[in-house]
Amino acid sequence: MANDLRGKTIRVATLARVEGEGALYIKTKGGEVVDVRLNIFEPPRFFEALLRGRDFREAPDITARICGICPIAYQMSAVHALEDALGVRVGGALRDLRRLIYCGEWMESHALHVVMLHAPDFLGYADGIQMATHYPEAVKRGLQIKKIGNEIMTLVGGREIHPVNVKVGGFYRVPTRPELDPLAVRLRWARDEALAQVRWCAGFRFPDFDEDYEIVSLRHADEYPFNEGRVVSSKGLDISAAEYDDHFVEEHVARSNALHSVLKGRGIYLVGALARYNLNFDRLSPLAQEAARSAGLGTVVRNPFKSVIVRAVEILYACDEALRLIEGYAAPENPAVEVTPRAAEGSACTEAPRGLLYHRYRLADDGAILDAKIVPPTSQNQKIMESDLRSFVAGHLDWPNKDLQWSCEQVIRNHDPCISCATHHIRLDLSEVES
């Protein structure tokens, strides 16, 4: 086509419908993509610095403030890393409560993304609000599921945002069975609705896009992973969280504050719902597996657009798992295990809604934090998003700029990036195409 030889520049100042603010820059020349820069994520350096010198017991409360959407994920990675350092294992009902609260967060985060942020792309709406006018029941359903996820987080975690009940060793207070039973009633409703939601997502039309990424997630002996397991990949990685730094490295990206993660000697990789699903399908509950199959998914999904169905399946799984955990629950005698500070180092990975979240801490004798390292899932996915953008644009260079820009935003939204850690609002103007 005649315009193959013209260069295009696509610059998006603020990305619609991702959490927070973002900036995207793509340059093509002579029919090729020459530069892709996605600057959407500020690493939590402020919090790593804030943690230094603080008592280890403060880590759950401090790290919960890193992300307004996933406070539990930060708390879970923090407590598991600190317990790793201090030689503490939290099992039994306390372990179950931690899985339960994570179910709540997956429901809350995934429901918001599926319904308000991602589904509009497939149904042809500019945003979830326009979509709500024509699909009010689907939106109400998603919001109600989200709300029930928030209720789990409040009941077990204390408050919906910045939960205060989680601590190293367990909790300050555990719920009683009578407190959980009304929640179970609501979860049964949510489970039915989540199943309908999977079917709804299965009916969307999906562009063809097949990517053979290296995908990374936790894998556990018998559970769909939340808090425990080995770090595995689709191309042979199989390590403990303690070995994370031997295999993953963060590279500083020129002209930005970003740090992008790569697998040493291998390159880019994907974390998140798609990665978890592909590496752990056999660990999903029978109901979730059946729903996935009925939705036309195989045990491996390679089209990132179909991540919307996968997240819907994970919402269903979370409802199912939450019910299983409540049905088996009896309040333990002690809300927490004893923890004694000592000089030590520890690390952990847990599965935030958006993917693998790594924490590492080094402690002094008295339990003061000497240093902390936090690698969020979205920073690990930045290179994948750039890779997808590169592939997508290369395959659609003949599209008008406006359509291309919109599709680029969709490509990013496939990976549910959370950029609420951005410390500033970006205010650039949209550029024009240069010829």
Binding site: F46, G68, A132, V139, L143, K147
Partner: protein, 161 residues
């Protein structure tokens, strides 16, 4: 967090970790301390979509939030939240996930708006993570508290400091 059927609900929404984004929360806190009868007060550090459930059953809702519009920091705006084009007057940015404006429009699309919705916006100067609220925004907080109390007819206990 749902408040049930109340006549008047004041919701202060914001993020205490992000400088002037704490403004709405501080207004709610001070109003709660005043103990105005018949007025429920909530501090909401949450995704704005939860507002729809928070205000279910409330007849009149006051929503207080930090805004960014380019006006001098600390400026106080009073907006009719039910007016469909209220965003054109003031650029409305949110640091808490789906923004307040989006939540209101969503509620409109789902027919879940309260009968009366008044928004008090306090112009913020800085929203850096970990920053304290600015003196200008604190001034805006005081002005918002006074304005809401005046709106409600000046009822309630006075602080005897």
């Amino acid at each position: 967090m749902a408040t049930g059927a109340v006549d008047i609900l004041v919701i202060g929404i914001g993020n205490e970790q992000r400088g002037d984004d704490a403004a709405g929360l501080l207004v709610a806190r001070r109003l709660r301390d005043r103990g105005l009868p018949g007025v429920a007060v909530v501090e909401a550090q949450c995704d704005a979509t939860l507002l729809i459930d928070l205000w279910a059953g409330a007849e009149k809702v006051y929503l207080v939030d930090a805004v960014v519009s380019g006006a001098p920091p600390g400026s106080l705006f009073r907006l009719d939240g039910l007016r469909q084009d209220s965003e054109e007057t003031h650029g409305y940015r949110s640091s808490h996930g789906l923004g307040v404006k989006a939540a209101i429009e969503l509620a409109r699309a789902l027919d879940r708006l309260p009968q009366h919705l008044v928004i008090y916006g306090i112009e913020g100067a800085g929203f850096a993570v970990g920053a304290a609220i600015s003196p200008e925004a604190q001034g805006g907080v005081a002005a918002a508290v006074a304005a809401i109390v005046a709106d409600l007819g000046g009822e309630g206990k006075r602080n005897h400091a």
